[in-house]
Structures are given as structure tokens and as C-alpha cells.
């Protein structure tokens, strides 16, 4: 390959080589554009050992020449002997990446990105990544801006230690002193996020994003927004998920104006995303997002943009989405006010209740009940009857209402509660102690007792626990007169489960009722059940005895 074929073939190459140093820039440019011809004539080894070192030092040249050189080097892999030797191209490209002319630097970075793909993972770690690190920690901002474009191409294929180092460098550049570097980093944020593992996206990218979005250099904000938009529409659902998950932080970072103009459409798209995880993540953020909208346009935006999407989500097929939504629908009621709530939100809420959900988790439904209380707070019409109906037909809802009696809105008035029959018992007791007991007796006693024998175990258990709290509030005497007889009465029930409930109640109540009641009234019942037919009952008698033992007087 090296010229041994005689002068004719060598001569033109010789001319080309000499013209690399010609005073006429056009001739130099011409030679650079024919660099591959020179390299072919020299052969791979001489190209590596002689031509490339020469080119590394020729950075004293006009932009056009350097630009052409940067471009040529991106295609030189074969000419240096293939992927095994591709790292030889790094030195000249590294010096081109620090030149003051932006076009040349950009082209050098482009070529570096190209040839990075040809590096083996080992070569990446041994040659490429050190180059990136050198550029990233360079004295001049030119090299640091160039570094920004090289992180995403080497990250995927290196070891986790090196990955950590790369992430660190990127973080440093995002908070560089020089605005140009921060800007370059911001523009590569989206690209880098795509190659990061999701956990790191959350832990690293989002804070960087929010920092850059509120950077005092205004154009950084403008730069970061396209990244956000792109990320929100990214092909990878993980990226979209990340955006949805961190939406409220992003909203805070960009401020109300950009939220209005940019984030609302983005949020809408996330709510309509084809991937359920993304929709669920976005749905979780609806309330917070709406709360942080600028006040003057909040209602309009919600009614025009957000609510239609929410309406779609209520009939979503995915459980997670519906769970997520449950907690936020009624949260919007405070923002939208009574009329809008009745007209728009309540129907949605009822749809949710009607929906046969078998795997609703505890917390969303408890929010349902809390939300419900918020709704009915201002309602006084017949929809409450409908609401009650659904409450009592849906076990999960009942369960959570009971479990969350304490959490129901403390502002609820007694009258509304009584009208809606919401069992906000403890709250009531707190609110109007002077008439608490009578009121309880009148309205809700039967309800609570009914729950004690509910066919769902968890409800019975919760009801038991609730009773305990009631006794704490109303006192042992009241318990003795009202609750205890009823509880003890259950001991004679034909259903063994109900008899067991008695035992469980006794377990709970003995603590709060005091020694006298426990000894005088409860103990006999327990002892009587020790001869119950059902083994399970007898077993639990033993347990009960253990439990109530400390509250019995011990005979010496």
C-alpha cells in the first residue's frame, strides 16, 4: 500500500501532502478534503504514526480548513486500521474540540460522537472517557462546552464506576461558572437523560433540570423548555414517566407564565399518554398541578384543559390510573367551588364509586371518603342519598370511611353530617361533647353495631377499633350502658364469626372500660364461651383471657 509502485502514482499524493502547508488557503483546503487519498497511499500504519500526529499539531489554520479536517477525521476509522485503532483519531479531534470557532468545535464533537460507536467498551474506558474528562475539566470554557456533547455517547457502554464519574462531570458542568457551558449542558440534558437509568434520571436529572430552568440567564430557561417538551413527548415511556412524576417540581421551577403556556399542554398529553404508568403518574399530580396554577387563570385552565382529560381517565381501564385519580377528583372541589363541583366533579366521583373495583388500595379510597366529606360539606340536596347508597354498597369505601373517621374534615358541620349520615362519630363527639352521647346513640349507634357484624372481616376489625376510641371519648359508664350490652349480646349469635367479634371487642374494650366492667360483665361472657362448639372460638377465648388478664384483679 505504501508507495512502491513508482513515481506516477506517488507524485500526485506528494503534491497533496506538500500543499497541506501551502500558503494559499484554498490549496490547503483542497488537500484536507482529499485526506483520505493521502491516508490510503500512506497505509494504515503510517497514517497512524505520522499523518495523525502532524494533523494534531496543525491547529493554526483557517476555520474552513479546520472544519474540513474535523469532518474528515470522523470518517477515518477504516483508514487507521479499523475499530481496533480508532482511538488514534482522538488526539487531533481533541485539539479541534478546543478551538475558538464554534463551527469547528461542533464538527469535532460530531465526529467524536461518530467514532465513539466504533470504540470497544474497553477502548471507551481507556481512551474515550479520559478525553471527555479532560475536556470537561479543561481551563477554557471552549473545551467544557465540547465535553457536554460527549457524555451520552459513551455512558451506555461503560462500567458503573465510570458511569458514576460521568454523571458527576455532567452535574458539575450544569452548574459551571460560565453561562455558555451551562447552556451547552442544558441543551444536552434530554439526550443524557435518555441513556441514564431511571433511578438516576430521578435523582440526578430532575434537580439539574429545575436548577437550569430557574437559572438567571434567561435563555437557559428557553433552552430547557424544549428539552422538557421533548422529554414529555419522548418515545421512551420511561422519560415521559419521569416528567410526569416530577411535574410539580418542574412547575415550580419554571414559574406561572411558562406553566400556563407550555406545561399545560404537556400535562394534557401526559394525561392522555398511551402508557398507563405515565397516565397514573400524571393523574397523581393533577391536584398539585392545579393548585399551583396562576390564580387568575386557574379555574379557566382547569375547566377547559384539565377536566376533560380527567373525565377520560375516570373510565380508564387501568387500575392504577383510577386509583390515582380517586384521590384528586374531589381535591379539585375546593379550587372549583360549589357549582362546578356539583355539576362536573360529583358525577365523576359517583362513576368512580359505581365502578367495580376489586383491587383498590386503602389509601386512594380513604381519600375518596375524605373527598366525599369535602363534597358533602356544602351539599344539602338529594345527591347525598345517592352518595350514601354507594357508600354502603361498596365495602372498600365503608372500610375506609370507618378507618378514617378521624381524618374526615374537621370543618364539617353536624347538620350536614347527620343529613348525609356520614359516620364522623369521633369528630362529632369532639365537636359537641355536651350532646355527643345522645346524638351518637340516636343516629349512629346502630350503624356502628351493624359494622361490627359486617360480613367483611376487615370492616369488623376496624369497627372494633373504632369502638375503642369511642369509649375513650365517651367514657366507661356510657360504654357500660350502651356498647357493652350489645357487644356481649353478640356472644349468643348463631354465627360463630359474630361470637368471635364479641371476643375481639372485649379484647379491645377491656383496656378502656376499666377493671370493674371487665371483671363484672366481660369476664363471665368470656368464660362462658370457653365451652363453645367451634374450636376457633375456644381458641380465641384463651387468647382473650391472656389479653384481659392484666385488667383483672389478682387474687393473692
Amino acid at each position: 500500500m505504501a508507495g512502491a509502485e513508482g513515481d506516477d502514482s506517488l507524485y500526485p499524493i506528494a503534491v497533496l501532502i506538500d500543499e497541506l502547508r501551502n500558503e494559499d488557503v484554498q490549496l490547503r483546503l483542497n488537500s484536507i478534503k482529499k485526506l483520505s487519498t493521502i491516508a490510503l497511499a500512506l497505509g494504515v500504519e503510517r497514517t497512524r504514526t505520522e499523518l495523525l500526529p502532524f494533523l494534531t499539531d496543525t491547529i493554526y489554520d483557517e476555520d474552513e480548513v479546520l472544519l474540513a479536517l474535523a469532518e474528515q477525521l470522523g470518517t477515518f476509522t477504516v483508514l487507521v486500521g479499523g475499530p481496533e485503532f480508532v482511538h488514534c483519531l482522538l488526539p487531533p479531534l481533541e485539539s479541534l474540540a478546543t478551538v475558538e470557532e464554534t463551527v469547528v468545535r461542533d464538527k469535532a464533537v460530531e465526529s467524536l460522537r461518530k467514532i465513539s460507536q466504533e470504540h470497544s467498551p474497553v477502548d471507551l474506558e481507556v481512551h474515550f472517557v479520559p478525553l471527555v474528562k479532560r475536556l470537561a475539566s479543561g481551563d477554557w470554557f471552549t473545551s467544557r462546552t465540547s465535553a457536554c456533547g460527549l457524555f451520552s455517547v459513551c455512558y451506555p457502554r461503560v462500567s458503573s464506576t465510570v458511569k458514576a464519574e460521568i454523571r458527576q462531570h455532567f452535574r458539575t458542568l450544569c452548574s459551571d461558572d460560565t453561562p455558555m457551558v451551562r447552556r451547552a449542558a442544558a441543551s444536552k440534558l434530554g439526550e443524557f437523560a435518555k441513556v441514564l437509568e431511571l433511578d438516576y434520571v430521578k435523582s440526578d436529572i430532575i434537580p439539574l433540570f429545575t436548577a437550569l430552568a430557574s437559572d438567571e440567564q434567561e435563555d437557559l430557561e428557553a433552552l430547557v423548555m424544549p428539552t422538557l417538551r421533548q422529554a414529555a413527548e419522548d418515545k421512551s415511556w420511561r422519560v415521559r414517566y419521569m416528567v410526569a412524576d416530577k411535574f410539580s417540581e418542574l412547575q415550580k421551577a419554571v414559574g406561572p407564565e411558562i406553566t400556563k403556556n407550555d406545561l399545560v399542554p404537556a400535562f394534557q398529553n401526559l394525561l392522555k399518554d398511551c402508557e398507563a404508568e405515565v397516565r397514573a403518574a400524571a393523574a397523581n399530580k393533577v391536584k398539585v398541578f392545579c393548585e399551583n396554577l396562576p390564580e387568575d387563570s386557574r379555574e379557566t385552565i382547569i375547566m377547559t384543559h384539565i377536566l376533560p382529560c380527567v373525565k377520560e381517565l375516570v373510565s380508564d381501564t387501568n387500575q392504577h390510573v383510577k386509583s390515582a385519580l380517586a384521590s384528586v377528583i374531589m381535591g379539585l372541589s375546593t379550587i372549583l367551588g360549589k357549582d362546578n363541583t356539583v355539576e362536573h366533579l360529583l358525577p365523576l366521583f359517583l362513576v368512580q364509586l359505581k365502578d367495580e373495583v376489586t383491587h383498590l388500595e386503602l389509601s386512594p379510597v380513604s381519600h375518596l371518603s375524605v373527598s366525599l366529606s369535602l363534597v358533602v360539606k356544602d351539599l344539602s340536596d338529594c345527591t347525598t342519598a345517592e352518595t350514601q347508597l354507594f357508600i354502603f354498597q361498596c365495602p372498600e369505601v365503608r372500610l375506609n370511611i370507618i378507618s378514617n373517621l378521624d381524618c374526615v374534615n374537621e370543618v364539617i358541620g353536624i347538620r350536614q353530617l347527620s343529613q348525609s349520615l356520614l359516620p364522623a362519630i369521633v369528630e362529632l363527639a369532639e365537636d359537641a361533647k355536651w350532646r355527643g352521647v345522645e346524638f351518637f346513640d340516636e343516629k349512629l349507634n346502630s350503624l356502628c353495631m351493624a359494622w361490627l357484624i359486617d360480613h367483611v372481616f376487615a370492616i369488623r376489625e376496624a369497627a372494633t377499633c373504632n369502638l375503642m376510641k369511642l369509649v375513650e371519648k365517651f367514657g366507661a359508664e356510657w360504654a357500660q350502658n350502651t356498647i357493652v350490652p350489645k357487644v356481649l349480646g353478640m356472644a349468643n349469635d348463631s354465627n360463630y364469626l359474630h361470637r368471635m367479634t364479641t371476643l375481639f371487642c372485649i379484647n379491645a374494650l377491656s383496656e378502656v372500660c376499666g377493671q370493674e366492667i371487665t371483671t363484672k360483665h366481660m369476664l363471665p361472657v368470656v368464660l362462658k364461651m370457653s365451652t363453645d362448639q367451634v374450636a376457633n372460638v375456644r381458641f380465641n377465648v384463651a387468647r382473650s383471657l391472656q389479653k384481659i388478664g392484666p385488667f383483672l384483679p389478682w387474687l393473692d
Binding site: G3, D7, L10, A14, R21, F54, T58, W140, P179
Partner: protein, 444 residues
């Protein structure tokens, strides 16, 4: 040395370090120094002259055995920046005199500066070369061509070390944007744009784009007969890339925000000191013309120089006379045109002292914190190495004390218009007509 950082002008004793330029009294017009500027690190000091040349001095690296040599500045590069031109359309000669030099913050191994004459701004790259390629295929190193038939192998040139060569090459020429004479250029803190100001307009340029500039201030009246005020100086804020200030011949300073509108004719803030009616005279308007405006390094204050005083602006506006003793001489100064001299001013590194020039090769240092000032002289007589400068005193009238100089004896042809203070150290460069004096803090 940063601890000293240009602290108090009066605690510091200044001593002579070097003088550059021809010693003889016969001053060639082309050698008259027209601008002096340190770069951002203080390592380089550039001067421009009337002949269109730029001379760059470089600070010698610290010599441990001779600590006194610390601030020796030696010639690093000299090049012809601008040539005289002739505007055929207007039959006007365009002087090659360098009006201003401004350094760009360093972005890679090379240095960059902007130099301007009345009409054209140029971006110069100053780079070092310490190796050169050798080895031609078709000719010898000395240029003689070889016989083409003797070539049997290809030869790739190799770089060999050589003596350090400093090259200055023009990278950009920003031309044809100013109808009137450019008086100021200022590089933005964003490192990408800069402004250039002439008498009536201020333009914004991008450093990479030469065929376009944006006009951001235009005070040209529709009818030129109504012209009463011109722009005298302009500068970007050192940190806020959207803020700049420009001063006028009427003694006003306008602070402008480029975010507010594209054309910044409406200022955000106007600084103006109402005149003391007792001082009013025929010359009031002329001497209120501001010749220079400079932000402090920290960006919180602004200093302006009018004919008789230096003013420092902020919420607490201070006003310090420079050579108040000239007030009685205004008539003769008017007659000899000296009243139109444009003095520059500068801050020290930590913004505690300001410096400006005066006549008789005097220059003044005004300490803001200690509220004291001193007058020093750049003269041949105090040219001995490390000779401490003695404070000078001018007697305005009445009985002249010993060592004082009477205002009538001042040489108004010896003026120090251009001064520069090293950004970190107590080293100052003071330009008399054709000499550059470098003084440094006395080190024991």
C-alpha cells in the same frame, strides 16, 4: 499577591518600575499613546497608538531570586491593527488611531482582543507558536524543487520545536456600522456579544457575525439642527448581560436594560447631578461633559469622569473633585482647547481606589474607603528603579508652600488621559503623551 489586591491608594507606596517608549522629547505623532488596557488576568498589557499600532506587553513570571522583578513587562507582540483609510464618498480621511482596546476573557490557549479606530472594529487573535512542520516531498526546506523522479516514498511533515513566535492575526472585521466616530467598545459578560458606541448611536454585535449588527440606542434627532447632546462613552455591566450604561456630553448617565425593548432609547435609570448654581459659568456645560464611565468590578458602582471631577454613583452618590484648582483657569483652558480633553478613569481590583489622569503628567488616586487622595507624577525625573513616588501638591492661589507647584506653572501639554490598573495586583500603567509608565507597589 492577591491579598494586596490594589488596596488603599494611600497606604500603598508607589514606586517606579518601567517606562516604555522613546526617551527623546521630540515626539513622533504616530507614537502618541491613545489607549491602555490590562487583560483579565493582568498578565498582558496592551497599548494602542495614533499610528494604528498595538503593542502588547507581557508580565514576566515571578523570579524567585529577584522578587523586585515581579512586575516587569516586556514586549510580547506588536502589530499594525488599523491603517489610514480614505472615505471617498465624504472626502474624509479615516484616522488609523486606535481609540479603544478591549480584551476578551480567555477562551482557549490564544488571547483575543478588540481594537477600534473611528469606524472599524477588529478582532485579533494573539497566539503562540513554538513548533513548525518540516519535510516537503517535492522541494527542499529552502524552497528549491527536487527532481520529481527522485521521489520513491511519501514523506509526511513532522513538527519540530522552534523559538517562540507570537502571531497576531485578524479574525474578524466589523465595519460599516458607524456613521460617526466610535468612542467606546465594551464586551458583554455573556462572552458572545459586544457593543460599540459612536456620537449618536450604539450598536450590538455578535463576535462571530460581522455582516450584521443591531442598533440599540439612537439619539440622532430628526433634524440635526436640534442636536444638543452626544454619546461620550458606553459600557456593559460586568455581570448582568442585559444592562449597559452610556454617558453624554450633557453630564447625564443612562442605564439601559436590553430586555425592556429592542431599542433602548428609553433608559431604565437616569443619573444626573443637579448643578450647583453658584458654580454656574459659561463653561458649565462643557466641563460637565462626561469623558469616561466605568463600572466597578463588583458591578455595584459606576464612576464617571467629567472635566473637573470624578463621580462615583450608586444610591450613595459621591463626588470627588480631581483638579478643582483648574476651575479658575477654565478660560485659558478653553482657549487652548484643553477643556475638551477626554480623561479616562479606572478602578483598582477590589473597587476601593479609583485613578484618573490630569495635567503636568500628574495622576490622581482617590481612596473611597479612607476618603483620602494623592497626586503623583509620571516624569523622567522619577525614573530610577524602585524609586518611591512623592506625592505632589498643586497650589491654587495665594502663598505657595515649599514643594508645591503653582497652577500657573502646570504644563497643559503634558496630559495623562489614559490609565489602567492591574485587575489583581497593585500595578498601574499610566500613559503620558508617548511613554508608558509602569508603577508598582513598593515591596520591602
Amino acid at each position: 499577591m492577591v491579598s494586596g489586591a490594589g488596596g488603599g491608594g494611600n497606604d500603598v507606596q508607589w514606586c517606579f518600575s518601567q517606562v516604555k517608549g522613546a526617551i527623546d522629547d521630540d515626539v513622533a505623532e504616530a507614537d502618541i499613546i491613545s489607549t491602555v488596557e490590562f487583560n483579565h488576568s493582568g498578565e498582558l498589557l496592551a497599548t494602542g497608538d495614533k499610528g494604528g499600532r498595538v503593542v502588547i506587553f507581557q508580565q514576566e513570571t515571578e523570579n524567585k531570586s529577584q522578587p523586585q522583578c515581579r512586575s516587569e513587562y516586556n514586549v510580547y507582540s506588536t502589530f499594525q491593527s488599523h491603517e489610514p483609510e480614505f472615505d471617498y464618498l465624504k472626502s474624509l480621511e479615516i484616522e488609523e488611531k486606535i481609540n479603544k482596546i478591549r480584551w476578551l476573557p480567555q477562551k482557549n490557549a490564544a488571547q483575543f482582543l478588540l481594537s477600534t479606530n473611528d469606524k472599524t472594529i477588529k478582532l485579533w487573535k494573539i497566539s503562540e507558536r513554538d513548533k513548525r512542520p518540516e519535510g516537503y516531498n517535492l522541494k527542499e526546506e529552502d524552497g528549491r524543487y527536487r527532481d520529481a523522479t527522485t521521489i520513491t516514498t511519501l514523506r509526511v511533515p513532522v513538527f519540530r520545536p522552534m523559538d517562540l513566535m507570537v502571531e497576531a492575526s485578524p479574525r474578524r472585521v466589523f465595519a460599516n456600522a458607524h456613521t460617526y466616530h466610535i468612542n467606546s467598545i465594551s464586551v458583554n459578560s455573556d462572552n458572545e456579544t459586544y457593543l460599540s458606541a459612536d456620537d449618536l448611536r450604539i450598536n450590538l454585535w455578535h463576535l462571530e457575525i460581522t455582516d450584521r449588527s443591531f442598533n440599540i440606542v439612537d439619539i440622532k434627532p430628526a433634524n440635526m439642527e436640534e442636536l444638543t447632546e452626544v454619546i461620550t462613552a458606553a459600557e456593559f455591566h460586568p455581570h448582568q448581560c442585559n444592562t449597559f450604561v452610556y454617558s453624554s456630553s450633557k453630564g447625564t448617565i443612562r442605564l439601559c436594560d436590553m430586555r425592556a425593548s429592542a431599542l433602548c432609547d428609553k433608559h431604565s435609570k437616569l443619573f444626573e447631578e443637579p448643578e450647583d448654581p453658584s458654580n454656574r459659568s459659561f463653561f458649565s456645560e462643557i466641563i460637565s461633559s462626561i469623558s469616561d464611565v466605568k463600572f466597578s468590578h463588583n458591578g455595584r458602582y459606576m464612576m464617571t469622569r467629567d472635566y473637573l471631577s470624578v463621580k462615583i454613583w450608586d444610591l450613595n452618590m459621591e463626588n470627588r473633585p480631581v483638579h478643582e484648582y483648574l476651575r479658575s483657569k477654565l478660560c485659558s483652558l478653553y482657549e487652548n482647547d484643553c477643556i475638551f480633553d477626554k480623561f479616562e478613569c479606572c478602578w483598582n481590583g477590589n473597587d476601593s481606589v479609583v485613578m484618573t489622569g490630569s495635567y503636568n503628567n500628574f495622576f490622581r488616586m482617590l481612596d473611597r474607603t479612607q476618603r483620602r487622595d494623592v497626586t503623583l507624577e509620571a516624569s523622567r525625573e522619577s525614573c530610577k528603579p524602585r524609586q518611591v513616588l512623592k506625592p505632589r501638591r498643586v497650589c491654587a492661589g495665594g502663598k505657595r508652600k515649599k514643594d508645591e507647584i503653582s497652577v500657573d506653572s502646570l504644563d497643559f501639554n503634558k496630559k495623562i488621559l489614559h490609565t489602567a490598573w492591574h485587575p489583581q495586583e497593585n500595578i498601574i500603567a499610566v500613559a503620558t503623551t508617548n511613554n508608558l509608565y509602569i508603577f508598582q507597589e513598593k515591596v520591602n
